[in-house]
Amino acid sequence: MDMKVTRNNDATLVEFDHLRLDAAVAPQLKAALLKVVTDGAKKVVLDLHKVKMIDSSGLGALVSVLKAMNGQGSITIRGASSSVMGLFKLTRMDRVFTLETVAA
């Protein structure tokens, strides 16, 4: 799985480099993000601008990581395409993840 993790002062930037966030990569993304969280990241910024399609397994992986943070941190989604944004809105995940509306 292609992913780049950059630790900044206040946030950890995770750039996910796949077109699809689906059952094929969700377990690996989950494991990788859990490691980032275990390593102490409180504020995770997940850059999904490459992702054209996210499915229920992909969403489930992100929720698992959020739950593992135990309310002690946040996950911000950056660069969400319209279809990714659509799923977050449809499932009301905009209430638990922070969605950056405009890609940098």
Binding site: D55, S56, G60, A61, V63, L90, T91, V96
Partner: protein
């Protein structure tokens, strides 16, 4: 001096000899050479056969299992390289290790031998100690092959068992699908369900709740496979009016009370699912209750796709009222009722994302827009025809005759089927 276990020469002639003993075939057109190699190998406890030509080997190889061939390179009729190539071309179940004996040792010849499929080389004149070491190498490779083959066989058996379980689970799930139409004078339910290759995570059903209300749902459990399928079963129990502990009704002192509002029902379902602790499994659903007296549908949309309303002229619009979170994800999730009134002749289409995300071979999703156009084009066709037309449409889009990537489920709720004025019994 050999580090290998002492060969067990009294071992009965089984199809696979003990690892220490190999069935060796020595091929040489010179009797003297054959005898030397055979003698040396026999002393190590191996079962040794001999052949004077490559053609002899090919004629006999299928009758007698052989582990290792030690062949001279230069022979009349068919040389060692040709023999090796011919052996490799056979579709044999068991790998035969091939050692080529030669006085040739140029780079080109080595490459020619390897290209033909030889595993190792022996220089001539023969050094018996070198021969022993080469054969020991062959033994290591062959025993590795054997254990891999055995492991593969075990995996095949295990996979077969898993596939059979999955198939059986899939069969069992069919039981959870509706049988027949709803028993109602004013509404009818039509549906289609196309399962994906593995156990399904979609479920749909409808049922009578009381004298004036019918309930219906469409559920999509996240992920695929056995866990999703079992969650689907669990959920079908929670939403089955015949099941004793179902969540569809309030309970009063007499036991079962009035039908719960969908919001209360789904909140209870969420609490139940959180209690079960399903890990990262969750589900999206739409649960609705139709009041037969006036066509009002009250529903909860928990992370599910937006339902579509098809009016009496076939025009289609999306009910894009804001919904709620999926079920089984967060214990703090709240759910609210959305009401829509169906005019006589109107239909409500509820479907899983297996419909909208059904992909063409080029990877293009079917999409909600296309579904809306499809429903509009179907217009006032009978509802039953629309659901079967949708099945064909889904197969056409994905160009698949058999199974889909994701379950496809679709439910069409039709109010006032045109049977005339409402019967007095439910007015």
């Amino acid at each position: 001096m050999s580090a290998l276990p002492v060969p067990c020469t009294s071992h009965p002639a089984a199809s696979t000899p003990p690892a220490a003993s190999l069935r060796i075939l020595v091929v040489d057109d010179q009797n003297m050479q054959r005898t030397i190699v055979r003698h040396a190998m026999g002393k190590l406890g191996h079962e040794v056969h001999v052949a004077a030509s490559g053609l002899q080997v090919l004629a006999a190889i299928d009758q007698r299992p052989i582990d290792l061939v030690i062949s001279d390179w230069v022979m009349d009729e068919m040389d060692g390289v040709e023999l090796c190539r011919a052996l490799r071309a056979r579709a044999a179940a068991k790998y035969v290790y091939f050692i080529l004996m030669s006085s040739r040792d140029s780079r080109e010849e080595l490459i020619a031998g390897l290209n033909a499929g030889a595993d190792d080389f022996l220089r001539k004149p023969l050094d018996i100690e070198e021969l022993r070491v080469r054969v020991r190498g062959a033994q290591r490779i062959l025993s590795l092959q054997d254990s891999l083959r055995e492991r593969n066989r075990q995996l095949d058996v295990a996979l077969g068992r898993i596939n059979e379980d999955i198939r059986a689970a899939g069969e069992l799930q069919r039981v959870l699908l509706p049988s027949g139409d709803i028993d109602s004078p004013v509404c009818s339910m039509h549906w289609t369900y196309l399962p994906s290759a593995t156990v399904s995570g979609d479920a749909l059903n409808f049922f009578r709740l009381d004298a004036h209300h019918v309930g219906f749902y469409n559920v999509d459990v996240a992920g695929h496979g056995v866990a999703a399928g079992m969650t689907g079963m669990l959920l079908a129990q929670c939403l089955d009016p015949r099941a004793p502990g179902c969540l569809l009704f309030d309970s009063d002192e007499n036991g079962r009370g009035a039908p719960r509002a969908p919001s209360a029902c789904i909140a209870a379902l969420n609490a139940q699912m959180m209690r079960f602790g399903l890990g990262s499994t969750y589900l999206t659903c739409l649960y609705g209750v139709l009041d037969e007296r006036d066509g009002t549908v009250v529903y909860v949309r928990a992370g599910h796709t937006m339902p579509l309303l098809v009016d009496a002229d076939g025009r289609c619009r999306s009910l894009d009222e804001e919904g709620d979170m999926p079920v089984g994800m967060f214990d703090f999730a709240t759910f609210h009722d959305i009401a829509v009134k169906l005019a006589p002749g109107e239909r409500l289409a509820v479907y899983s994302d297996g419909v909208s995300e059904n992909e063409s071979p080029e990877g293009e999703e079917y999409g909600t827009q296309r579904l809306m156009h499809f429903l509009t084009a179907q217009g006032r066709e009978p509802a039953a025809d629309i659901t079967s037309a949708l099945s064909r449409e889904m197969r056409r889009w994905s160009a698949s005759e058999g199974s889909f990537k994701d379950d496809v489920s679709f439910l069409l709720v039709e109010f006032d089927t045109g049977a005339g004025p409402l019967p007095a019994s439910i007015r």
